[in-house]
Symmetry: D2
Subunit: 429 residues, 4 copies
Amino acid sequence: METIIEADIVSQDNEAREKALKADYAALGEQLSRRGIAIDDILARVRAFGVAIPSWGVGTGGTRFARFPGVGEPRDIFDKIEDCAVIQQLTRATPSVSLHIPWDKADPKRLKQAAARFGLSFDAMNSNTFSDAQDQKLSYKYGSLSHADAAVRRQAVEHNLECIEIGRTLGSKALTVWIGDGSNFPGQVNFARAFSRYLDAMADIYAGLPDDWRLFTEHKMYEPAFYSTVVQDWGTNYIIAKELGPKAFCLVDLGHHAPNVNIEMIVSRLIQFGKLGGFHFNDSKYGDDDLDAGSIDPYRLFLVFNELADAEISGAKGFEPAHMLDQSHNVTDPIESLMLSAVEVQRAYAQALLVDRDALATFQDDNDALMATQTLKAAYRTDVEPILAMARLESGGAIDPVAAYRRAGYRQKVAHDRPAVASGGGGIV
Amino acid sequence: METIIEADIVSQDNEAREKALKADYAALGEQLSRRGIAIDDILARVRAFGVAIPSWGVGTGGTRFARFPGVGEPRDIFDKIEDCAVIQQLTRATPSVSLHIPWDKADPKRLKQAAARFGLSFDAMNSNTFSDAQDQKLSYKYGSLSHADAAVRRQAVEHNLECIEIGRTLGSKALTVWIGDGSNFPGQVNFARAFSRYLDAMADIYAGLPDDWRLFTEHKMYEPAFYSTVVQDWGTNYIIAKELGPKAFCLVDLGHHAPNVNIEMIVSRLIQFGKLGGFHFNDSKYGDDDLDAGSIDPYRLFLVFNELADAEISGAKGFEPAHMLDQSHNVTDPIESLMLSAVEVQRAYAQALLVDRDALATFQDDNDALMATQTLKAAYRTDVEPILAMARLESGGAIDPVAAYRRAGYRQKVAHDRPAVASGGGGIV
Amino acid sequence: METIIEADIVSQDNEAREKALKADYAALGEQLSRRGIAIDDILARVRAFGVAIPSWGVGTGGTRFARFPGVGEPRDIFDKIEDCAVIQQLTRATPSVSLHIPWDKADPKRLKQAAARFGLSFDAMNSNTFSDAQDQKLSYKYGSLSHADAAVRRQAVEHNLECIEIGRTLGSKALTVWIGDGSNFPGQVNFARAFSRYLDAMADIYAGLPDDWRLFTEHKMYEPAFYSTVVQDWGTNYIIAKELGPKAFCLVDLGHHAPNVNIEMIVSRLIQFGKLGGFHFNDSKYGDDDLDAGSIDPYRLFLVFNELADAEISGAKGFEPAHMLDQSHNVTDPIESLMLSAVEVQRAYAQALLVDRDALATFQDDNDALMATQTLKAAYRTDVEPILAMARLESGGAIDPVAAYRRAGYRQKVAHDRPAVASGGGGIV
Amino acid sequence: METIIEADIVSQDNEAREKALKADYAALGEQLSRRGIAIDDILARVRAFGVAIPSWGVGTGGTRFARFPGVGEPRDIFDKIEDCAVIQQLTRATPSVSLHIPWDKADPKRLKQAAARFGLSFDAMNSNTFSDAQDQKLSYKYGSLSHADAAVRRQAVEHNLECIEIGRTLGSKALTVWIGDGSNFPGQVNFARAFSRYLDAMADIYAGLPDDWRLFTEHKMYEPAFYSTVVQDWGTNYIIAKELGPKAFCLVDLGHHAPNVNIEMIVSRLIQFGKLGGFHFNDSKYGDDDLDAGSIDPYRLFLVFNELADAEISGAKGFEPAHMLDQSHNVTDPIESLMLSAVEVQRAYAQALLVDRDALATFQDDNDALMATQTLKAAYRTDVEPILAMARLESGGAIDPVAAYRRAGYRQKVAHDRPAVASGGGGIV
């Protein structure tokens, strides 16, 4: 397997940190064993945990007001794959890449080789009918899969079928459909008619799905449409998955909900009714801010993983969620943000594994709200950093991925090779 | 039919206003006929429209901080029925009353007689498992239909079955179930287990439903539970209605949603999938404020009725929504607020009937967002007050219900008969 | 004065509508006179009312995901001025244009001539330090007036001083400063130090303000910064205006507030403490959606104007608000949206003038909440369209601006002259 | 000093936990020393930190729907003081009690003795004009300090002056004024006139303030008023404090803000402009939920304390915030909730003390957003439980306050002495 960052640099950085790590790991291990938890079991599960990197996440994002690119921005999907390889090399938590078509369109075989070089695989394929591609015949200005014009819907369906086709070659096993369809004004669309058109178009896509694939639909409250959105919430998303069939599942993006919504409860409902497809992880304070996972409300991320760990441990039927980061990195080096975000997701998972579930169930049955919530807090409060760092170290990554990355001077190196991009237009997430 | 307000007072007040009303009605009729609308058709539909009064709405409401009762507060359900009769006499828009058990518990036959005296009928029955009644065996402190203890759930189921039994005698045809079950702390309840228990208990209630009854479940985002609520949104509500069966429907309270949520779209979805049961009308700015219908965002109320009128006109399958006001009158005379709220609901309905639906559909198909939204605005902007006033006049009500009510001095009269209530504890909605 | 739309087309369209308008105007006049209001007084005030057009508003807007341009997009500020002239010709409600520098940078004398040709004047100047201009030395990626680096702050100050200089030549009398400065992560900036730097930089700009100019600062809760924003709310904005001095005022954009915030109350506070500078009108459902004024919540717009009319009538000290539209037209013809939005703002003003303020004050003093709110509703419910249309007709505009505009085929004509723009990058508001 | 819980029980419980605590404390100490932090310094500061208990917090709270009392509810202020003494005995973090008048009205000398017995002192006095007391002459139904009627305002002013008088005897040094004044309907009050009346009334209260007292005003977005609130946000609160004078300060309740608002930034602004009075700590997910501090979003609590620690360390002028819990305990034993909430507040303080402020400032100046936010996270992630537990142990409290409390059987004991209270009316916070 090729690596991009020189192994020496990583091991030098690790050496300087290993002693402290071992001391912290031992102390934590002792504390956990007092709580009846074997730290090595947690370590093993953490090492097995992965989250996909979205290809578009390694470029600097932006807003409708401006985009301020950094140096060494990836020029194409092959540069992006290299950036993803760096993330995986240092964190060992991101074994796969999720592509966006047509942005990442290239010869599928070349793509496969490029990823295989670094041991990366391909996660869910993402179609794009929320913007117009350069050579596109009909515009998505007024919608795509729900458009009033059948020809536009057909074009959007075919684009999705093409994404499946590409994905088959790449070894992907899922298609994620997120559309921007909706309206900016009351009356602009008839909700029922638009949704019927959407369901019909999705049925056509579903019909083209290979047997071993899954179809993920993603709801979002608003943006880019500002009055109504066709797939506006999990209620609509659930109806879609039910109407389409057993291979259709709901994708949850943490930033796509109304203010104050209890997201972990939605996760629970989707698990209970067999329709949780997976996640787009990120964090947000206001809208779909697409900030780094866990950067604003880390306890919320933990509570989501509390549901996931509960389902995993209890063996919920059909439970096999896909994990992906989906963020916009406007003011940080995207590689650094993605490394730490993958770690944050891992952290929430590790903390959720520490929950004493038997005690929790007893407190719940006894209506002992205080001790029930303290049971979660006891797990959340635990500083699991030594476990995460040890997982990286044992898997060949870096104890401190950002430090190793900066030490290696990767950004400066690619800045040399990759010419500067013009500032301006909005980024994407 | 008995009336409470002296007929002379109403007719005197009407006489003083009739000339102006007729001029306004004629001018509006002329304007509408230019727009291709026969004003008398609208008048006829408005006259046929009714909204139920909740028995608890005629008492002064309050908050957890205080309740400031007015004078002449109703002492029992029989006083409440008299207040409802006044509302109906003056507005002719509120032909039925919705009871809350055990608050309104009384000899069903006496109840039926009391209402029949004023030509009032009984709308949906409301059960109460969100507070503890005085003689209640087990407490609902930690939930009712979703409680961890089967005995508490059984008690709650039986209470609902009793509500159905009472309703049968009264001629009601629906049971509305709203519960406060939920949690105040992460971990306090297991979402999936609690929801399973709820569904099982509801299935027991559903089994006791007469053939010609409907079961309405009402979702609410939060309050009285402040971290999670069992029936938190329309997604969960839809699942409930699907799981229970064809007599189960979703009730929409306008104040029970997350901030910024597009409620009219939820209404559309529930109509499209045959699960809209009806409404609890009110208005709100922050949470479940239970303010008077249309007092904060009258355009939103219109947009909801735009969906209802569209479904009515297009003959949506199984479309038969129940309309009820559900408000808390903390600083106004409840009778006055309920009269004007019923009128506001009627107003939204009348405006929605004015929408040029053929033009709208064409603009929608042409992606002419501007003209589509203007088509709604043209209807909404129309001052339909002359139609509403004429509907009241022709049905035997008051052109200006508040003026007639004040002229009649009803509140002062009942203040004399009904002793003052102590200030203090929270009101209810 | 030159006009762009042929006079014949407008008068033909008006002729077809004039008879109905006169009938409606007469009927409304009669109704208003019964309410003690002289319709011609309202007409006169409406005719004197104007709202500025933002130069950037006539181009199609977009989101971070995509921009879908229409045909005939303005190529430069001179095309934009022509589009503004069309809006003013047909509505007679938009006598001025507000420029954005550097987007609209051109020879000031030529600009002045271009506007004067159509009788347009220049409203507030807008600086731009939320994106990087092409030839800019230092980047605003990490802020402008609050940037940690003094050189960046200096550059931003000088840009603002240049805007003042350009504005002096054009006859503008105000500078509007809106910045995107803030942070995406807790800890990224020190709130207090950043705000001190901002205040110092603003003091430098204030020092360069001519005696007869005003300085408007605009607050916004979030976007483009997603964790904190330097001028995040009216509290901070008020402090700025107080610290800077008597020529500094607060600008209120209706879309820049937290969910559920009572904006009309903020307007009242700013009036009461002498610091209301003016408005950026638009409407929104979720965030800073920049939808057409009055398209989502027209009653809220009325309630804002209720405060303005109250201040105007009562002669509030120093009350001289600047009115401007600030919207993003993503799915409509921007000219059409701006025409109707100007009309909506006028409508709210006209309705607010109808409020019976003596009766209102009496109801308020008597704690008669119901009649107080009905007093507002009585004004709001009035269909003032005949007044607005008559104001346009008498001022030389179009009874139905959109109909006249479409009849004239302006968009098709400019589509011919102005080459198509590439799709893509985010729009701006 | 008297204690209520038997010393033996506490020491027995401590003994069983002491060994593990010492091991954890040592391991943490070693880790912190690697980070350049002396754990004993942090311990000393934590031991010196205290937060006041609100007298009303020890009773079970409720909502407008219901209140479900627990057993052993305190019957009067003397029972409440005993409950507060238990909290202080076990946590050693709550040395003072905050009274609410007239709820806690009693002979001041007896009050002082009752508190002194347990070493408790009195924090800020709280007046109550949001509900009507039994013997009250004029009602606050339509407001108090901003009421249209001067006699009502006078009554409210005198009540506040009486609170000051009582507080003088008790040794309190501050008055907290929170009112429910506002409106439920647009137009119900004139914002400017109501605020002028409020300011005049507050000036009368301010005039009665002893020289060494402070006056705290508390803003709240909504509830009990649901359209507008007189002191609705920190902007209005800041104006009040400025208008009144140097002894007037703003109180921040964490649950009184609009959705998504950045509260830590408001805290920073108030510190920067010398007007932060103190806090009412609690947590919330939806509105003013009054949940236990840190139970929903512990990182937000940390970010608030990050501002406080920064101000403390940098010696911000006039910085002397008052800390109080203000919560509603609806489903837990209030004593348990208050103990753990005090600990949570302490925890956030301890974590904030661990922030490497020099590194943070450097990252901020370098626009290194990633490392800046990681600097906060490194502090937050640290499990400081050993420090908090050690602080309790060394101060004579319990390592595990809830365990010791339950072991002591205090609730069962008082349940015996204090008769059961009727269920029903809303609780208060």
